[in-house]
């Protein structure tokens, strides 16, 4: 399946690629992000993962949300306040 990844957390994810990723059916939001990190030669650490939240197709999601073909996943900061 193909899912689109948009990163609104560049301070944490650096130069990870935005765009479409080809992944096996049943991949979760966390799995997609791990794949993106892996592609960039990096590792998704627990520290970073716990600082992020996900939206899928404009709705709040969790790392366990299973994505479908054509989904658009946005990765955001877990808001700390300000």
């Amino acid at each position: 399946m193909k899912v689109q990844v948009i990163l609104n957390c560049r301070d944490l994810t650096g130069d990870l690629r935005e765009g479409f990723y080809d992944l096996p059916e049943g991949t979760t939001a966390k799995g997609v992000l791990e794949a993106a990190f892996q592609e960039a030669g990096k590792k998704l650490t627990e520290n970073i993962y716990n600082s992020l939240v996900f939206m899928v197709n404009g709705r709040a999601a969790t790392g366990d949300t299973v994505l479908q073909d054509g989904d658009k996943m946005r990765v955001l900061f877990r808001i700390l306040g300000g």
Partner: protein, 637 residues
């Protein structure tokens, strides 16, 4: 009570560690002052900041004093962490009655002012009376001067700051000043510390302006006694490990782009206000949202770092905005200000948002109330409630950056439509007799940029904190918004968690710690710092009671004014009445009254009136003044 008395008595033996030990009480009508010893019992029971300020205000200001009367008091209060080398311990509070809510008001800011007030030899200064002519107060190495400020009146904050430094022949001073906003008694007026840190919510700048007081200036070289400076230094040393380990993510994030790093995330989640809280993320383009993030703005504007006293993070930045109309040096707007001048107005023009922020710092206005008021007016204009002619010819369409700047300038210059708008949105609606349906306020205070539909616990805080409309007060708070929907929108049994949330927020507001220290310092470090500074020797129960006492004294000011639960409101749209029809929060309605019922029940207060019970006051201790006022007959209700 036995334990409480023991704690006070024990502490007095090696007294006043963590304090300068002096409080100034100044009467501008009489041009006189008293320098008193800090009340040691109050220092122990209320510690500092908003809580200690509330206790003094409760004593110094008679009940039902009109906000601009000579008897009205405004206080500037440091916290025990200030000037102790404690990391992230640089905040001070401004306390007064609010011209907006008619109740207690506290607002806080960082910068250097709190530590400098202690360098000057004072823990707090309280000002009453009204000067005949404009003045400023100089706290100078243990001495007080009331100095002529006629040449400063009408000046922008940075102009006044520069003139004061020139007059004193000294740049090593710290200022907390009002701008023209405070001089015009605007409900949006705040105090600006060191030209870039604002204690601005609730209109305390107007109270200061009503006294013909331009502000407070501090200088000196005094130090504050610390019980165990070696322990403070040791905790500071540990910080590097935290900053490079478990705290690396928030520390690095705040070091690079500060609070602006959350802007786009907040907009997409629906946490930030969009289109006067009636919009959804897709009302803005991705480019408009991205334009106001630090990642995009920093390369365009940043020319230096900026931060508060004793802070190893330095989350601020110096910005230079240069275009064909403006050439200004300012500070990077905080997240809240970007939301207020960005998504709230459907504005993606970063020059415009930065210049609005500059206007607020220079003219002494609260960015949240300024942005919220313009958003209210934009919606009114869209709905035809106000015509272009009524807005002095300004075409105040959503996202029209030229119009946004024009209306901000009208407000700051106190001209035309800008004059009634100085009252902020609710007072302006009352003045014109229209636009009430477009208000987004809590008891008249414009809602900050973390909404209650995403963070439902904030509905109780916004409506029923003694200072309404704040996201930095106790309760379930912002992090609760990240809970899954089945948790955060479940309104059963929220009271104990809400009450528990008071502890950290009240603690920050009374200690002088930055609110961000909740994640920029390692868990548990705060209380170790407090022990090292002042030898508190508090148990967990003591800290909890301190937080409850802090909340209660702030609230008791309101209760003594005759305000009850029914007197506090929140605009329906901010709790999803009606719910949004699109976006990530479509269909969400928050049960704000149930949250409040749960909270008051958990506190053991009267649920209907929101009154603290006599039993509660006796149990917490140190609140005899409140018992005397609220229960004069000795009854329990």
């Amino acid at each position: 009570m036995d334990n409480l008395e023991y704690l006070i008595l024990e502490w007095q033996v090696d007294c006043m560690d963590g304090y300068a030990g002096k409080v100034a009480i100044i009467d501008l009508t009489e041009k006189s002052w008293k320098i008193e010893d800090l009340n040691p019992q109050w220092a122990r029971l209320f510690v500092g900041g908003a809580a200690l300020g509330a206790r003094y205000l409760y004593e110094l200001m008679p009940a039902r004093t009109p906000v601009f009367a000579p008897e009205s008091v405004v206080g500037f209060v440091s916290g025990p962490t200030n000037l102790t080398k404690t990391f992230l311990g640089g905040r001070f509070a401004v306390v007064s009655k609010s011209p907006v809510t008619g109740g207690f008001n506290d607002a806080s800011a960082g910068g250097n002012f709190g530590p400098f007030m202690r360098k000057a030899g004072f823990d707090a200064v309280f000002v009453k009376g009204i000067s005949e002519k404009p003045v400023y107060i100089l706290l100078d190495d243990g001495k007080i001067e009331i100095r002529d400020a006629q040449a400063l009146w009408g000046k922008r904050v940075s102009e006044a700051d520069a003139l004061i430094k020139e007059e004193l022949g000294d740049t090593k001073v710290s200022t907390a000043l009002i701008g023209p906003g405070g001089e015009h008694l605007s409900n949006m007026a705040g105090v600006i510390a060191d030209c870039h840190r604002a204690a601005a919510r609730g209109g305390s700048g107007a109270v200061i302006g009503s006294k013909k007081l331009k502000g407070i200036v501090c200088r000196g070289d005094r130090t504050v006694p610390v019980k165990d400076m070696a322990a403070v230094a040791a905790i500071n040393k540990e910080w590097n490990e935290y900053a490079n380990g478990k705290g690396a993510v928030p520390v690095n994030k705040f070091r690079t782009t500060g609070t602006t790093s959350d802007y786009d995330s907040s907009v997409y989640l629906g946490d930030a206000g969009i289109k006067n809280w009636a919009g959804a993320p897709d009302d803005l383009t991705d480019e408009q949202i991205k334009a106001l993030t630090g990642r995009v703005m920093d390369p365009k504007y940043k020319y230096g770092k900026l931060g508060c006293h004793s802070c190893p993070v330095q989350c601020g930045a110096k910005y230079h905005i240069k275009n064909d109309k403006y050439d200004i040096k300012t500070s990077r707007p905080e997240y809240e200000s970007l939301g207020a001048f960005g998504s709230m107005l459907l504005n993606g023009d970063s020059d415009c948002a930065n210049i609005c922020n500059w206007y607020c710092n220079e003219y002494g206005y609260d960015t949240l109330s300024m942005g919220g008021t313009i958003a209210w007016l934009m919606e009114c204009y869209e709905k035809g409630i106000f015509t272009r002619e009524e807005l002095d010819g300004i075409d105040l369409r959503w996202g029209n950056s030229e119009a946004i700047l024009a209306i901000v300038k009208k407000i700051c210059d106190y001209e035309g439509i800008g004059i009634p708008l100085n009252g902020a949105s609710r007072a302006a609606a009352r003045y014109f007799g229209k636009g009430f349906e477009c208000l987004a306020t809590a008891s008249g205070i414009e809602i900050p940029m973390h909404g209650a539909r995403y963070n439902p616990g904030l509905a109780r805080t916004f409506q029923y904190d003694p200072t309404p409309g704040r996201h930095v007060k106790g309760g379930l708070g912002v992090p609760y918004g990240h809970q899954p929907p089945e948790v955060k929108y479940n309104y059963e049994n929220t009271g104990e968690r809400d009450k528990a949330g008071l502890e950290s927020w009240e603690f920050f507001n009374l200690s002088g710690f930055c609110n961000f220290s909740g994640f920029l310092l390692a868990p548990g470090v705060h209380y170790r710092y407090m022990e090292a500074i002042g030898g508190y020797n508090f148990t967990a129960e003591d800290w909890t009671n301190l937080a409850l006492r802090s909340f209660t004294i702030r609230d008791a000011f309101n209760k003594r004014e005759g305000l009850r639960r029914k007197d506090f409101d929140i605009s329906p749209r901010n709790v999803g009445k009606p719910p949004l029809e699109k976006g990530p929060l479509a269909g969400i309605t928050v049960d704000n009254e149930k949250l409040a019922d749960n909270f008051y029940a958990a506190m053991g207060w009267d649920v209907e009136t929101g009154m603290p019970t006599k039993e509660f006051l006796e149990k917490i201790g140190g609140l005899e003044c409140v018992i005397k006022d609220l229960y004069p007959e000795g009854g329990s209700q």
